[in-house]
Assembly symmetry: C2
Homo-oligomer: 325 residues x 2
């Protein structure tokens, strides 16, 4: 593969943001930041056989997800994603068309958000594929949704449904199977392979007075821990309120573990004042964006995160779920 040909083939023909002064094709990209905004930047890496397997993920899927998980970080700040840069360490056996397919998977998602690919690097490796995506976004000054903003008496909420990504992975790894149609099987699998970042909800949160927000990459319990720690509060959630797909319990007895610790749902979880919650809930309802109250914030205690079930009240640990163990 010729690097120059590859760069040429992936260079976008159109640029959405006029603030891009120089995109791909020089030593670095140049853009002009707007007045009155803060720049947001994040980077995430996905490694073959750690975060995905080539046996079930196509190059398009891998590209899509690598960008999605970074857009999700921008969403979790309440921001608008604008630009991305892609760095690939590609095994020698990959063909140019497979590499292009990975970029096409990213482009599919980037188009939705009018994002511009402005740079990157492609190098070869002798072994596993490593995909690193950097995303740059912006948020109106002072409106970012930080983890440290939770206060006692806030409502705790989560978007969409949780545990479905872990369910999809379990189906992919054949640890679970769906008793009925393949439609639901594909649904869960897509939740794992092609997560949908919650940019719109993040934007609504940035309109509110004060929202502490995280995206669910490591699992609900872990994300709430981070908010509790950063904000010096305790967070109490109610098991009966956790939004899960109605078929989730049919798949595997581990479904509650998936919902709390499974991760990779890339939904948003956060806290907001009671007054602002009503507005946020209504706005989400109007835009048909699923969001649900799952608990409330307490004064700091020894337990960062507390789960109330019908039978008991227990401390939730900050553990993740190691999918490939």
């Amino acid at each position: 593969m010729d690097e120059f040909d590859l760069i040429n083939s992936i260079t976008p023909r159109t640029i959405h943001h006029s603030s891009v002064d120089v995109g791909i094709g020089d030593d670095a990209a140049l853009y002009t930041a707007k007045n009155g905004v803060q720049e947001i930047v994040c980077v995430d890496t996905m490694v073959e056989d750690v975060h995905f397997k080539l046996s079930y993920s196509s190059p398009e899927d891998i590209g899509y997800k690598a960008l999605a998980i970074n857009i999700s970080d921008i969403a979790a700040m309440g921001g608008i994603p604008k630009f991305y840069l892609v760095s690939l360490a590609v095994p020698l056996k990959w063909t140019e068309s497979e590499i292009k397919a990975m970029y096409e998977g990213m482009n599919e998602l980037a188009k939705l958000y009018c994002m511009d690919l402005i740079g990157g690097d492609t190098v070869s490796t002798s072994d596993k594929l490593v995909v690193t995506v950097t995303v740059i976004g912006e948020v109106e000054k002072g409106r970012a949704c930080l983890r440290s903003l939770a206060k006692p008496n806030d409502i705790v909420f989560v978007t969409g449904e949780i545990g479905s990504s872990a369910a999809g992975l379990s189906l992919l790894l054949k640890e679970s199977s769906h008793p009925e149609t393949s439609f639901e099987t594909n649904y869960f699998i897509n939740r794992h392979k092609r997560p949908q970042p919650r940019v719109s909800v993040g934007r609504l949160c940035s309109n509110a007075q004060r929202v502490a927000l995280n995206d669910i990459s490591d699992g609900l319990a872990s994300e709430l821990h981070e908010i509790a720690e950063s904000s010096s509060v305790s967070i109490e959630i109610d098991e009966s309120l956790l939004p899960v797909h109605p078929d989730l319990p049919k798949l595997n007895s581990k479904w509650k573990e998936w919902a709390l610790f499974g991760g990779e749902d890339f939904e948003l979880t956060g806290t907001i004042s009671k007054e602002d919650w009503d507005v946020l809930e209504q706005e989400c309802c109007r835009l048909q964006l699923p969001i649900k109250k799952i608990g409330c914030v307490r004064e700091k205690t020894e337990s960062n995160v507390i789960l109330k079930t019908e039978e008991e009240t227990m401390t939730l640990e900050k553990k993740g779920y190691n999918h490939f163990k």
Copy 2:
């Protein structure tokens, strides 16, 4: 290794730029861009056994170089490096102290430029170390040194000396040996392992009316090709003017190949009008920054880059030098 402990240990205790609003510790970093500047962003990946070998590079060396090559891209735009983000795919056998040492190598260089580490990601891999660094910088609006700015009759220049990095690698791989002292051996090896980005010269170039600029990552010939192509000109250089270390010819008969195609020198090469050249040369002289005229820009011909030697005039191909072949 616990990811949370690691993040804690690498999080900087002080921040140089007050424009950093949120550094490490949330979903993404937040900063405020200055008025009147353009943001510069670039990303580069280094892979074990492709770009370095653990047999001769310490974790500190690897970290240092991974940051240096990105700072060099900012220098090649005439910019000031400000922030960096680090994404690591780390083999399971690496210890936490080795990972920290890699960050220390980066920090050594970052301190020189008052750069802030504002984010990143560390994941495990079963195989080779992959280090991806994203650097963000800035340049005064309209002052970036782009590849497309060369014009006929410009002076072509290069900083420092070229071929020394390839020489260092050759010494490391024991393909060459230095006939005399180990001082020179170490010098060449350091040129390979710890390149010095030319930020100061880049800044002087950004003061000039118009400078086309590239950093030498793929070799002088390749970089000049890029400028010639982007600017639709031809570039003629004079072999006798190429700045090489006086000991280079002693090391290996390939020394001219190293100078033209070796790459990884991370010097700057560019073109500037005759009038502005005198000023740039004087300013560099005053600051003891080595810079040398090596040729001139011509109207576009069939050959993008032409080398004049005592015997002949030849076309230089856009080839790189594959070090590990």
